[in-house]
């Protein structure tokens, strides 16, 4: 996809973005556009909902029906959009803090309901917008402005959390693996039910600087060197996987979701109503 093809889906008058040089958000944004373009979706039929954070600013640049909502609530807003208008393809763009900390409850419940949403988590391992505090996805031991002695908490594994909660399409890739990212987002969009795509992304300004990998390209190199494909990982020992980013498709199953099940209720209720 060349620049002008991408620009067809952007609000070009609002460029440049608020993002720092070297930030990975633009890569995830472009991958999302490419996935949509490949699927030939009509721009009017797409709603993109984001929360609050650097990554959540993505919605402002996209020429779809877009909502920049509240910190942590993007999935709940998107649930309303989807249920009101099942004909729309509803995408959620959210940060690791947005989705996993303040929005954790909405995340697990949308998975449980198998809500027909495509949730793209921009995981930069840190709170970017507020200036570099640790998040629920910050690796243990990492430095952040609120973990000056190193983070003592254990991060969530987004994939495991989504899986136990009931999501039916789950994948992870990094901004280094652009083509995989496009493929996974595309599959997530086409999938009926809750799709979770974790896009591991770089924040050179905060995460990188505090943890001594301080350029965008340096962090991409790190993703390249430390990512392991799921198929490969299955053959590796636990110790060998320590500190590695496992990428790939983890779950892809068919299961009834809220949107379709509710439509059945509607048909039943409308039938009994008109029979009266």
């Amino acid at each position: 996809m060349n620049r002008s093809e991408a620009q067809e889906y952007l609000r070009n008058t609002h460029m440049p973005t608020v993002w720092c040089p070297g930030c990975g958000n633009g890569i995830v944004l472009k991958a999302t556009i490419e996935a949509i373009k490949n699927l030939k979706y009509n721009k009017d039929d797409i709603a993109v909902v984001s929360g609050i954070g650097c990554s959540s600013r993505a919605t402002g640049y996209l020429d779809f029906n877009t909502m920049h909502t509240l910190h942590g609530r993007a999935i709940a807003f998107a649930t309303g959009v989807k249920l009101a208008r099942p004909d729309l393809n509803v995408i959620v763009m959210t940060g690791d803090g947005d989705a996993m900390a303040i929005g954790g409850n909405h995340f697990i419940h949308a998975c449980r309901r198998n809500m027909d949403l495509t949730v793209i988590i921009f995981n930069n391992n840190i709170y970017g917008m507020t200036g570099g505090q640790y998040s629920p996805l910050t690796p243990t031991g990492s430095y952040a402005t609120t973990s000056p002695y190193g983070d003592i908490e254990t991060p969530f594994d987004t994939v495991e959390l989504a899986k136990t909660s009931g999501a039916t399409y789950i994948a992870r890739a990094t901004t280094y693996h652009y083509n995989l990212l496009v493929k996974y987002i595309q599959k997530g969009l086409a999938h009926r039910g809750m799709s979770v795509i974790e896009a591991v992304s770089q924040c050179p300004t905060y995460y990188g600087r505090y943890n001594k990998v301080d350029s965008g390209p340096g962090m991409l190199q790190y993703f390249k060197d430390n990512s392991v494909l799921l198929s490969q990982a299955k053959k590796m020992k636990k110790e060998e996987l320590e500190g590695k980013i496992i990428i790939g498709e983890f779950v892809e199953i068919e299961k009834p979701g809220y949107v379709d099940e509710y439509e059945k209720i509607r048909q039943r209720a409308e039938a009994t109503n008109s029979a009266k």
């Binding site: 509240l70 649930t79 309303g80 959009v81 409850n105 209720a269 109503n273």
Partner: protein
């Protein structure tokens, strides 16, 4: 012609059934006494009319979901009580900022905190106005009978659409749980404000959702459903396209718009009833369930030759200053009765520039205010003015 149907209905049920008449087709909520029955009726009725119900994981999610659904083009409502209403405040501000038509029902219980879940109170009057942070637009309605619940919930939806604002629909535990009989108004009796479609927007090439002072549409730009026109919505201060901007000039303009869009339409928005005010020397001011006791108190006092009338606001916010000032100019004594520690009476005293003697009947202990308490206050007032 069909005969008018005489029904017996519970307040919460009337709220749900009236909302359906108003065109509400999406409800998201979380169970809480004394508002749960609204969700229960909605879960049963919405799918019958092609609508959607969802029980969310909490009130933060419920409020978010109804705003999302409304922006997507469907009239939406949630219902809760104090603790849940507190949780909804951030999203309420978002609805104000994004000018998204929504209805938030708050069936008040004894408060603060978990308070008295199964007992009535009117303690959320100020929260309805100032619960969310920052200055913002809001309309709050508070009916006083089950029939009024049924009628005014329709008004609440109409105001939400017309003025593009969240509307708080206040009730109280007694109003929510009690049953009353009334002639069910036919749906034909109501004028329903429908959401506008893009093709009805003339002379505009690009739809600007936050354009002000459009000559076409008075001062409020109608909201267009998602999928009919692509635009951006943000809780940040924004320009007419919806895109975030940081300039103070634009922020100040938007703030003015929030205030003016309500202020310029007070004639339409302020709903109130007056009883026996023609010759009244005294006025009782009461709203919600307390207005019922106040009405009885008025009758008792009149029987004793006291010339007293009743002012019953349905619109609590914006505060009915204009009609009340007219009354305060005429009377020589005021009684305000409310089930809180003086939230509305504080507003009354702010406009009582002539310092007309005023008595308050206040309680927030889960008990209704009795007509006799109000008569007593009136008697005290008479004693005062005779001094």
């Amino acid at each position: 012609m069909s005969e008018k149907k005489f029904v017996i209905m519970q307040g919460d049920e009337a709220c749900a059934m009236g909302a359906l008449v108003a065109g509400c087709r999406f409800f998201a909520g979380y169970p809480i006494t004394p508002a749960t029955d609204i969700a229960e009726v909605m879960s049963r009725e919405l799918p019958k009319v092609g609508g959607t119900f969802i029980q969310m994981e909490d009130e933060l999610g419920s409020a978010a979901a109804i705003i999302g659904a409304s922006l997507a083009g469907v009239k939406s409502m949630t219902a809760t009580s104090g603790p849940g209403f507190s949780l909804m405040q951030e999203a309420f501000g978002y609805a104000s900022m994004t000018e998204t038509p929504t209805v938030f029902v708050d069936v008040q219980r004894g408060s603060p905190s978990t308070g008295l879940p199964t007992k009535p109170a009117q303690g959320d009057i100020m929260q309805a106005r100032w619960g969310t942070h920052g200055d913002h637009a809001v309309i709050a309605l508070y009916p006083s009978s089950v029939e009024e619940v049924y009628r005014y919930i329709v008004t609440a939806f109409n105001f939400a659409e017309l003025y593009r604002t969240p509307v708080v629909f206040l009730m109280d535990e007694t109003l929510g749980h009690m049953r009353e009989s009334f002639y069910l108004p036919s749906p034909m009796e109501f004028d329903i404000v429908e959401r506008i479609q893009t093709n009805e927007l003339k002379n505009e090439t690009v739809y600007q959702p936050f354009l002000e002072d459009s000559e076409l549409y008075d001062d409020i730009q109608p909201l267009v459903s998602m999928g009919k026109s692509r635009f951006h919505v943000s809780g940040l201060f924004h320009d007419e396209s919806g895109f975030p901007v940081g300039e103070s000039e634009i922020a100040s303009q938007l703030m003015k718009h929030f205030i003016n869009k309500i202020k310029l339409h007070l004639d339409d928005i302020l709903i109130y009833d007056t009883y026996m005010m023609e010759d009244a020397e005294y006025v009782i001011i009461a709203y919600g369930i307390t207005a019922r006791s106040a009405y009885r108190a008025m009758k008792l006092a009149r029987a004793n030759g006291i010339k007293v009338g009743l002012f019953k606001p349905i619109t609590i916010w914006p505060f009915p200053s204009v009609p009340l000032k007219k009354i305060l100019n005429k009377v020589s004594g005021i009684v305000v009765a409310e089930m809180n520690m003086g939230q509305f009476s504080h507003e009354v005293s702010r406009i009582n520039k002539r310092q007309v003697p005023m008595q308050t009947v206040l309680r927030e202990d889960g008990q209704l205010i009795s007509p006799f308490d109000i008569v007593n206050a009136l008697t005290n007032l008479l004693g005062e003015s005779e001094d």
